[in-house]
Amino acid sequence: MRAVACVSRAAPLYLGVAILLTFTLFPFVWMGVTSLKTNAELYNIEANPFTIARGITLSHYAYLFAKTLYPRWYANTLLVASLSTVIAVVVSVLAAYALARLRLRGSEVLGTGIFAIYLVPTSLLFLPLSRVVVGLGLNDKLWSLVVTYPTFLIPFATWLLISYFRTIPRELEECAMVDGASRLYALVRIVLPVALPGLVTVTIFSFTLSWGELMYALTFISSSVQKTLSVGTVGELVRGDVFYWGELMAGGLLAAVPVAVLYAFLSEYYVAGLAAGAIK
C-alpha cells in the first residue's frame, strides 16, 4: 500500500522532470539528429523527422572540414578565447587582490564601479568600439577581440575573486611575509592555491564567454579567414537562399563541444559562478 501511494505521489514529479528535460535538451538532440542525416532524408517532407531511416552520415561534418574554413575558425576561436582568458584572469587576480587586501584609498568606489561595469551590456558599446578598434589599427584582426573581450570578463572575474580573497585569513600571508616573502610571492604561493576554486570558476567562465561571443566578432571581423566559430557558423553556411542545415547543425554542435566538456567535468564551478551572479 505504502509503495503504491509513494509511486502515485512521485509519478507526477517524474513526469514534470521529463517535460522539463525534454524542453531543455531537445534542441541539442535535434541538432545532433539533423547533423547525421543524409540530405535526401533531411529535405523529404514526407519523412518522419524523428527517425534516421537511410542510415547516418558524417558527410556534413566532412563538408565542414573539407569545403569551409571551419577548422580555421576553430583555431581562431581557440586562440582568442585562450588569450582573452589569460589576460582577464591575470588582470583580475591583481586587481581583486589589491581591492580585497591592501589599504587603498577609493577601493570601495572602485569595487562598486567594477560591479556596475559588469552589468553594462556589450550591445551598448559595440558601435563606438568599432571606431576604437579602427583607431587602434586592429580592424579585421583577431587582436581586436583579444583586446576587447577582457573588458566584459574582468568585471565579473574581479568581483568574484574579491569575495574569494576576503574569505582567506590575512594571517596566512602575513606569516609568509614575516618570513621575508614579498607580497607578490605571498599572492602566488599562498593566496592563489587557497583561492583555487574561485580561480577555476573565473577561468571557465571567461573561456566560455569568449568562446561563444558573437556581437563583437560580427562587428570587428569581416574577412572569412579571421572569423571565429560564432560568426563563421552563423554567417557563412547560408549561401544566398541555400541553407546548409546539416552543416549548420554539425557546426553549431561541434562548436559547443569544448564548453560542454568543460561543463561535464567542472559543473560545480559553473554552479558556483551562477550563484555569484554570472549571467551573460
Binding site: L99, L104, A116, P128, L184
Partner: protein, 310 residues
C-alpha cells in the same frame, strides 16, 4: 619586488609612512591594468556612444554635431517604435515566463527525486552552451518547410497545416520569447534552488505542526525567504534580456519586415549594416535607463545581503 616589510605593529605605523605608501603604490599598480582597460574600452565607449548619438556620423566618416536630430528622427520612425515595444513586451513576457517556470522547475528539482543531481546538471545546459550555437538548433526547428515543431503538431492533430513561424510577425515574436525563456530558465531554476536550499527546514516543520498546508507554507515561508534571491535574479535577467542580441540575430535577424528587433539588433542594422553610426548609437542608448535602474537596485540588494552577512 622583495619587500621585506612585515606588517608594522600599530605603534610603529605612523613611523612607517613610507611603508604604507609603498603598499598603496603596489596596490595602485595592481589595480592599474584593470582600471586602464575598463576605462579605455568601457568608459570611453560609453561617452563616445553619448556623443555619437548627437552626430550624423557614419561608418568611416566622423560626422558633425546635430543635436537631438537622431532622437527626433527615431520618434517618427515606425520601426523604432515597434522595436521599443518589442523591448518592453519581449522582456516582460520572457522574464515573467522565466520567473514562473524557473520557480516551478526549482521546486520540482528540490524534491528528493532519484537522480536529482543529474537532472540539475542537464537542466543547466541551455545556459552554459553559448546562444550563438544553440539558437541555430531552434532556427532549424522553426524552418518554414521542415519544422519539427510543425510536424509534431500536425501529427498530434493540433493544427492541420504548418505554422509559418518566421514569416508571421506574431509567431516570430513568440519564437523569440520562447528561445529566450528556454535559455534563461536554467539560470532561474538553479539560482532559486540555491535559495531554496538555504531556507531552514525547521521553519517548514514548525509550520506543519501548526497546521499550515503546502500552499500556506509556500506563501508564507518559501516566497518571502526566496524574495531577495528572486529579486536579484529578476534584475540580472531583465538587463540581459533587454540588451540581448544573439537570439534575435540568429533566429530572425529582426524579420519579418523588422517586426522582431530588439534595441541591439536594430542598432546593429542601422549603425553598421546601413552605416548610420550616429543613429545606431542613439538606438542602443535606450538600453541605458534600464541599466541605470538595474544597477541602482542591484547595488542596494547586494549591499543589504552583505550587511546581513550572507
Amino acid at each position: 619586488m622583495s619587500t621585506k616589510a612585515a606588517p608594522a605593529p600599530r605603534l610603529l605605523r605612523s613611523a612607517g609612512f613610507w611603508q604604507t605608501s609603498r603598499e598603496a603604490l603596489a596596490g595602485y599598480a595592481m589595480v592599474g591594468p584593470a582600471v586602464l582597460l575598463l576605462a579605455g574600452l568601457v568608459g570611453v565607449p560609453i561617452l563616445m556612444a553619448l556623443y555619437l548619438s548627437l552626430t550624423n556620423a557614419q561608418v568611416g566618416r566622423p560626422g558633425v554635431f546635430i543635436g537631438l536630430a537622431n532622437f527626433l528622427a527615431l520618434g517618427r520612425d515606425s520601426i523604432f517604435w515597434a522595436t521599443f515595444w518589442n523591448a518592453l513586451v519581449f522582456t516582460g513576457a520572457a522574464v515573467s515566463l522565466k520567473t514562473v517556470l524557473g520557480l516551478a522547475a526549482a521546486l520540482l528539482l528540490h524534491q528528493p527525486l532519484v537522480g536529482r543531481q543529474v537532472y540539475r546538471g542537464l537542466v543547466l545546459l541551455p545556459w552554459i552552451i553559448p546562444t550563438a550555437f544553440s539558437t541555430l538548433g531552434w532556427w532549424w526547428m522553426f524552418d518554414p518547410l521542415y519544422s519539427v515543431i510543425n510536424w509534431t503538431l500536425i501529427h498530434l492533430g493540433v493544427i492541420s497545416r504548418g505554422l509559418p513561424w518566421m514569416a508571421e510577425p506574431v509567431l516570430a515574436k513568440t519564437a523569440v520569447v520562447m528561445v529566450n525563456t528556454w535559455r534563461g530558465l536554467p539560470f532561474f531554476a538553479v539560482g532559486l534552488l540555491a535559495g531554496l536550499a538555504a531556507i531552514p527546514r525547521e521553519l517548514y516543520e514548525a509550520a506543519q505542526t501548526d497546521g499550515a498546508g503546502p500552499l500556506a507554507r509556500f506563501r508564507f515561508i518559501t516566497l518571502p525567504l526566496l524574495a531577495p534571491v528572486l529579486l536579484t535574479i529578476i534584475l540580472f535577467s531583465t538587463i540581459m534580456t533587454i540588451s540581448d542580441f544573439n537570439i534575435v540575430y540568429v533566429l530572425t535577424r529582426g524579420g519579418p519586415m523588422n517586426t522582431t528587433h530588439m534595441f541591439a539588433t536594430l542598432a546593429y542594422q542601422v549603425g553598421l549594416v546601413s552605416g548610420e553610426l550616429g543613429r545606431g548609437a542613439a538606438i542602443s542608448l535606450f538600453i541605458f535607463p534600464v541599466l541605470l535602474v538595474g544597477v541602482f537596485l542591484l547595488l542596494r540588494v547586494v549591499r543589504r545581503s552583505e550587511v546581513a552577512g550572507t
